[in-house]
Symmetry: C2
Subunit: 205 residues, 2 copies
């Protein structure tokens, strides 16, 4: 299947996704999108009418991707510690596969928090279940005396803070310090271990 096999409508969406992720909403023009998709600028508006519509499509898809990943907690580890370690590790690996997501989501949400509000409704039911599941697990372990007390919100916030930070700073650090891609991969691998270490230390007695 060659590039021309994909419909132009879809190629436009792909081009938009790539450019929005790289440059953000304001810096991306419908002209750039058209050029990358291989069509005329007017066609972008023919299919998606407004730049905003097109952006929303991309943005919502990415939010869903993130949500789906956070929710796809694999509780297969038997030991509680293993479960948490696996959870944090999987989230980290997900970010490693999608390193442009954190800067993208943050920049756009900061410059336009309204976008979240419009999505909040669509994504509300899911998160609660996972929080409650984790909350129950934590309570159980705490009562057993197996870990030091912590709320599920705090634990998740800690995991997200530690995991996301490298991907927010990496592009900047890489450019500023002139790191090679191999350097970056190595640093990330090291960092991942340190993060898990830190999270588990917080839980241990």
């Amino acid at each position: 299947m060659k590039a021309d096999d994909k419909t132009m409508e879809y190629q436009i969406l792909e081009a938009a996704e790539r450019l929005f992720l790289e440059q953000g909403y304001t810096k991306t023009t419908t002209g750039q999108i058209a050029k990358l998709a291989g069509c005329n600028q007017a066609l972008v508006h023919y299919y998606y009418r407004t730049k905003d519509n097109l952006f929303d499509r991309v943005f919502e898809e990415k939010i869903r991707l993130i949500a789906a990943n956070i929710l796809a907690v694999d509780s297969s580890g038997t030991l509680f510690e293993d479960k948490i370690a696996k959870m944090a590790g999987m989230h980290f690996d997900f970010l490693k596969e999608n390193p442009k997501l954190p800067p993208f989501i943050f920049s756009e949400l900061v410059s336009n928090p309204e976008r979240l509000r419009s999505l909040a409704g669509k994504l509300q039911q899911y998160p609660k279940s996972i929080f409650m599941q984790l909350e129950a697990l934590l309570k159980q372990e705490i009562e057993k005396g197996a870990i030091r007390p912590i709320s599920s919100v705090d634990l998740i916030f800690t995991i997200l803070s530690l995991n996301v930070a490298p991907f927010l700073t990496m592009p900047v650090l890489q450019k500023a310090m002139g790191l090679s891609d191999a350097d970056v991969r190595e640093m990330l691998e090291h960092r991942k271990e340190e993060i898990i270490e830190t999270i588990l230390a917080r839980l241990r007695k």
Copy 2:
């Protein structure tokens, strides 16, 4: 001293700072700056020639502020643990005083990493000294067997990750969940304790 006492040149700078911090570079127009400063749009260019110049002024000042704070480590605590706790706590409090800094710096660096490069030179000598100071301290404690091994880079990165995350997410969370300012303050206070707890847990044997 009334508002008119300040020179117009300065009022323009102040207006620019406020608007850039709130809306970022692209969304802020020299027209808005002029209006807020109380002058004509042309005057903005008369004093600072380009919007870019003006932005750089603000940006550099903020970077310096952040750097100065990170470097102003008060090592007064006698116990090593206290030193670290105080260090992290002071940084958190600094962010609490300047909550718009993290989103501002991140957004702008993400959308234009070149800005950092131009600053990197000016800020290079300082950071090294603090890193080396902490590195020496850590080594000492590790050799004493007082803490679990960790590098200064990892420790600082962990502290920054945990401290910055609340301020990056807070504006969004606040808008999305409709939290009051009091709610936010309370959450932050709680979060600060949890962060220090987490950092110390990582160091303890």
